[in-house]
């Protein structure tokens, strides 16, 4: 599903965020990306959805070499990868429904199909009764779940989450993690960046550990 081949990323200004990273994520696998803050977790994820380009090496997503894809193809990649952000990235002037519907609207689905899929995604994350609410009226955990619903509404084969439990209490964090596990169980490959080591250990999936931009064995 994902393959990093000797990938390095150096930002303008000289800071090397990733150094010679090699790893693979199988189809339907769930993996945790851990490491201290600043270790390069976010950069690694940004490379997968082409928010950044590697300075060296190659990134493959579903067998496609991202280096070979032009700017024009970025939307196609992103439509096939559901991403959950730590800061949610919701549109605050739109309802929960419209936020979750966004990826479907972009792909040009019929309103009836959009309604069906959005409600399915919202009920999956337990927010079926909040579709008409605006994000500001929701708690942090609920906002995060809106973000998750939006990430999966498209049924992408790959789900990325960058510190999805960053601001949540342990109980909520566990709930969110269970949710990701459920998606993984129906065949979605999941990669979660987290520094909540206790929680990660408890979940018991493979870990990819970054330290100063390098992979630890």
């Amino acid at each position: 599903m994902i393959r990093f081949d000797h990938v390095s990323k150096r930002y303008p200004g000289g800071k090397e965020a990733l150094t010679n990273v090699n790893f693979e994520l199988d189809q339907s696998e769930m993996v945790f990306l851990t490491g201290h803050s600043g270790a390069g977790k976010s950069t690694l994820m940004k490379l997968i959805i082409m928010m950044e380009r590697p300075s060296q090496g190659q990134v493959f997503v579903q067998g496609l070499n991202l280096n070979r894809l032009g700017r024009r193809h970025i939307p196609d990649i992103r439509r096939n990868v559901g991403v959950v952000f730590q800061n949610h990235q919701l549109l605050f002037d739109r309802t929960v429904f419209d936020n979750v519907a966004l990826p479907l609207t972009i792909s040009g689905y019929q309103p009836r199909e959009i309604g069906r899929r959005v409600r399915a995604a919202l009920s999956k994350v337990g927010l079926a009764d909040k579709e008409k609410h605006y994000p500001v009226t929701l708690s942090g955990g609920e906002q995060q779940r809106v973000g998750i619903a939006r990430a999966v509404v498209n049924k992408p084969p790959l789900l990325l989450a960058d510190e999805p439990t960053g601001n949540l209490d342990p109980g909520l964090s566990q709930e969110i993690m269970n949710l990701f596990q459920q998606f993984n169980q129906v065949g979605v490959a999941v990669m979660i960046a987290s520094h909540d080591l206790a929680l990660v250990e408890a979940m018991g999936h493979r870990q990819i550990i970054l330290s100063d931009g390098r992979l630890e064995a």
């Binding site: 196609d76 439509r79 096939n80 990235q89 040009g108 065949g187």
Partner: protein, 342 residues
């Protein structure tokens, strides 16, 4: 959602190769939930309709600010439109005469009425003239009294100061032919002088041509102004919606999708501006037409001020919409690439 069916579609979707355009690739058809050809076209237009509706609704919601922009564009579109219409009317004024410049032959005072009538008949029979009409001195005086309102002054004069005239309608209206006819007529012994109402028509045409060029230049300048002011308004709108653009790009929105609402925004600014221009022009014409018609009437008679008409109105709205979309396109092209999620 049923978990089994979920599994099936996820797997089906997973087989879909990345990079291919998701909705309209062949593999997408394998999944029961995927988009089919007709649906894509339908939803494409549905999205256009939706975006068009949402943008105009947003504009109406912020009516005060929108109206300001509409009026700025309206003035810039309305001024050249107004001038074009006035020119068109001036051209029409010249056009009435243009086809048949008359020749007035003033006869010597000692030519009798019967001699004059005979001459008129002879001239009318000539092939280069269509008609020749004799107007006696008395008739001329009557007509002059009627039109000028100087009857008291004229009555106080001892005799009739006006000569008899033969009004000729020439067949060939080209300048050279006319001048030759004039020369020939002048040589006749009964003729005092000959005048043609041609020179002022030439001058009018030259003036109208000059005016057209001037208005065209003005229209280009003001059109550029419309383009820039719409561009600037759109640039601000883009800046205001930076976060939204970033999020749309993050979840896979194409440039075209991101651009669409801004192009519609430009379109509606243009249409609204054209509407204001149209109201201003029609209002001004209503205001001006009565005095203009009175003025023309005092000179020679019937004249109806031409309005914008259907074609003119259509042109105005097309120009507005076109400038709006192009202005928005320029702004979007310049600024949208700068906004990338980070």
């Amino acid at each position: 959602m049923n978990r089994d069916s979920d599994k099936v579609t996820s797997r089906a979707d997973a087989r879909r190769p990345l990079g291919a355009k998701t909705p309209n690739n062949k593999f997408a058809g394998a999944s029961t939930h995927s988009l089919r050809g007709l649906d894509i076209i339908r939803s494409y237009f549905a999205n256009h309709r939706l975006v068009a509706k949402q943008t105009i609704q947003n504009l109406i919601r912020s009516f005060g600010t929108s109206t300001m922009t509409w009026m700025v564009i309206g003035v810039a579109l309305g001024l050249p439109a107004m001038l074009f219409i006035l020119l068109d009317n001036a051209e029409g004024l010249g056009g009435d005469w243009q086809g048949k410049p008359g020749i007035s032959v003033y006869l010597q005072v000692d030519v009798s009425e019967s001699e004059g009538r005979l001459l008129a008949q002879r001239l009318a029979a000539e092939p280069e003239f269509i008609d020749a009409r004799y107007i006696s001195a008395a008739q001329a005086l009557e007509e002059f009294k009627e039109h000028s309102g100087f009857d008291e002054v004229l009555n106080s004069l001892p005799g009739n100061p006006l000569p008899a005239v033969i009004d000729i309608e020439p067949d060939d209206v080209s300048t050279i032919e006319l001048k030759m006819s004039v020369q020939r007529l002048q040589e006749l012994s009964a003729v005092e002088s000959v005048s043609i109402d041609l020179e002022w028509i030439e001058r009018l045409i030259a003036l109208v041509t000059l005016g057209e060029r001037f208005v065209l230049a003005l229209a280009i300048f003001l059109g550029l102004g419309v383009l820039l002011s719409i561009g600037n308004t759109i640039r601000l709108a883009i800046e205001n919606r930076r976060a939204e653009i970033e999020i749309i790009k993050l979840v896979g929105g194409t440039d075209r999708f991101v651009r669409r609402p801004f192009l519609y925004l430009g379109f509606w600014y243009g249409i609204g501006g054209a509407l204001f221009a149209w109201l201003m022009v029609q209002g001004s014409l209503l205001f001006l037409s009565a005095p203009i018609e009175d003025l023309i009437y005092s000179y020679r008679g019937e004249f109806a001020v031409k309005g914008m008409g259907l074609l003119g109105s259509a042109m105005l709205f097309l120009t507005g919409a076109g400038l709006g979309v192009v202005g928005a396109g320029l702004a979007v092209g310049r600024h949208l690439h700068e906004i990338e999620p980070s």
